[in-house]
């Protein structure tokens, strides 16, 4: 069975600021990042859907110690965002001072504001992209 939405396709779309997922024709659940089966009912009858990129911060951290090769990025804020369509995605928060964020972030509404490409390193299989989010209002 062919993979409906591959990482490469997801990543290429994200580079154009289109956040993609899969909507299940059986139960209506949206799964993103994409998988072979629906994240809710494990069905395979899904079609590609574009997500609005809006959601709520579920949790975060302001990270001061980056991995090898990414030292220049620190400090940065990593988020888990629950999108309005349901899925949780990982991204970064921009437009804030990473040294000044706290628990008040949790529950705040965010919108996707572009993307950033990790060019890859000697351990990875090429570049990959994450969504960037900004606080609403």
């Amino acid at each position: 069975m062919e993979y409906k939405l591959t990482f490469k396709e997801y990543s290429e779309a994200l580079k154009e600021n289109r956040l993609l997922g899969l909507i299940c024709r059986q139960c209506g659940t949206v799964t993103s990042p994409p998988k072979m089966v629906c994240g809710n009912c494990a069905g395979t009858d899904m079609e590609i859907t574009e997500l609005a990129g809006e959601g709520k911060i579920q949790t975060f951290t302001s990270n001061n110690v980056a991995a090898e090769g990414r030292e220049d990025e620190a400090p940065y804020v990593v988020l888990l965002v629950e999108l309005d369509e349901g899925p949780w995605v990982m991204g970064n928060l921009v437009g804030i001072d990473p040294a000044a964020v706290g628990m008040e972030l949790i529950g705040q509404k965010v919108s996707m504001d572009g993307n950033k490409v990790f060019p890859g390193d000697r351990y990875s299989d090429g570049e990959s992209t994450r969504p960037l989010f900004r606080l609403q209002g």
Binding site: F7, T59, M90
Partner: protein, 392 residues
């Protein structure tokens, strides 16, 4: 199913970068385990070895085959297990199953890692491989960052003010250091108080340096056999009476179940069911405290404390020796250290020593009859639990 006993245990010191190869480290632990069991290398029918990052730390793949030959276990089947930090526990569980099923009578199981040798930058990079490399690593996730996010989520979900949670987490680390100070195999043997934890370097908010376990080098090994053989070898056999293992997908797939880790709850339940025991029957537990918050999440997932209350339990001494359940009398990953591919075998080593009454008096759980291990790989991707009981 046959009963399975631990009859030999061995462990190197867990510590900073060591001038020994993985094969050498494991060989030392393995010889100690075999000698202690009164068995010989020729008696081992298989080697199950946890090793996660040997390919990166020393350019060595397939280390299990070289290790088997190095210690005189010629030509036996040798399997490597990779389930991130739970690797050695997977190896022990498989050894248990193969002996219980009747296929093998004697298996050498264990693990080895040289995490400290990699240094912080490379270890941080390679440990991040146990998050989703395509959908999560791009955002700069690291292991401290991941557990830091779980800490914030824990505070929000259970309505605990962050300052209070931080004090609870600091208490977890302080307790681990207090016991670990007396563990001769330990990596960080020093006294640390709450103020020192709260003043340490901020790694990934809200986790500070003393909330995090170290990167360690080390190895551990166990000889497992049948009850019949065990009774001939020792008058103190320690039986594995329950095992469980479960998996989960990436963090984002675990979503609103977080900060609870479903794989742990399923794995622990299987172990309890097999042993015919409940959480309140367990005298002590070596659980996966890679970060202070991880201890709180683990103690709740294992059923020792109610959700959202384990920090309070630590503060009241309920997780200390003499409390409701003694957690990590070895010093845990925090103080004893975390050579990831060896950690689970190191936990079984500690539980076995406790049950035999062979640990230092300052960290002895008097009269302990039932101990448990809890080993977590990745962000809940692999969970293994093992229950051990005195056989005399």
């Amino acid at each position: 199913m046959r009963k399975v006993a631990v009859v030999g245990i061995g462990e190197t010191k867990f510590g900073p970068a060591q001038d020994k190869t993985s094969v050498e480290l494991f060989a030392e632990a393995a010889m100690e385990a075999m000698t202690g069991s009164n068995l010989k290398p020729k008696d081992m029918q298989a080697l199950f070895l946890g090793n996660v990052l040997g390919d990166f730390s020393e350019g060595q793949g397939m280390v299990q085959a070289f290790a088997a030959e190095n210690i005189g276990c010629y030509n036996i089947p040798a399997n490597r297990y990779e389930g991130a930090c739970a690797s050695a526990s997977m190896a022990v569980r498989d050894a248990f199953m193969w002996i219980a099923s009747g296929f093998y009578d004697v298996v050498l199981a264990g693990g080895v890692e040289r995490a400290a040798t990699m240094g912080t930058a490379m270890a941080t990079r390679t440990f991040a491989m146990f998050s989703d490399s395509h959908y999560e690593y791009p955002a700069g996730i690291t292991f401290p960052a991941l557990f830091a996010m779980l800490a914030h989520l824990y505070a929000a979900k259970y309505g605990i003010p962050l300052e209070k949670l931080k004090e609870q987490m600091a208490t977890v680390s302080v307790q681990s250091y207090r016991y670990g100070m007396f563990n001769p195999k330990g990596h960080l043997r020093k006294e640390v108080d709450v103020a020192a934890v709260l003043n340490s370097f901020m790694v990934s908010t809200p986790l500070q340096l003393h909330d995090c376990c170290p990167f360690s080098d080390g190895a551990a090994a166990l000889v497992l056999t049948t009850e019949e053989i065990a009774r001939k070898l020792t008058d103190k056999p320690v039986f594995i009476t329950g095992v469980g293992q479960a998996s989960s997908g990436p963090l984002v797939s675990q979503r609103d179940y977080l900060p609870r880790l479903k794989a742990r709850e399923i794995s622990a339940q299987r172990a309890y069911e097999m042993a015919g025991l409940k959480p309140e029957d367990i005298d002590f537990c070596e659980l996966h405290d890679c970060f202070s918050i991880a201890s709180l999440i683990a103690a709740e997932g294992l059923g020792f404390f109610d959700y959202g209350t384990s920090g309070e339990a630590w503060m009241k001494g309920e997780a200390a020796i003499g409390g409701k359940i003694a957690i990590n009398p070895s010093g845990g990953l925090k103080s004893k250290g975390h050579p990831i591919g060896a950690t689970g075998a190191g936990q079984v080593y500690e539980v076995t020593k406790q049950l035999r009454g062979e640990v230092e008096p300052e960290r002895m759980v008097e009269g302990a009859r039932i101990g448990m291990t809890d080993t977590l790989g990745g962000d809940g991707g692999t969970l293994v639990n093992i229950i051990l009981q005195r056989g005399w």
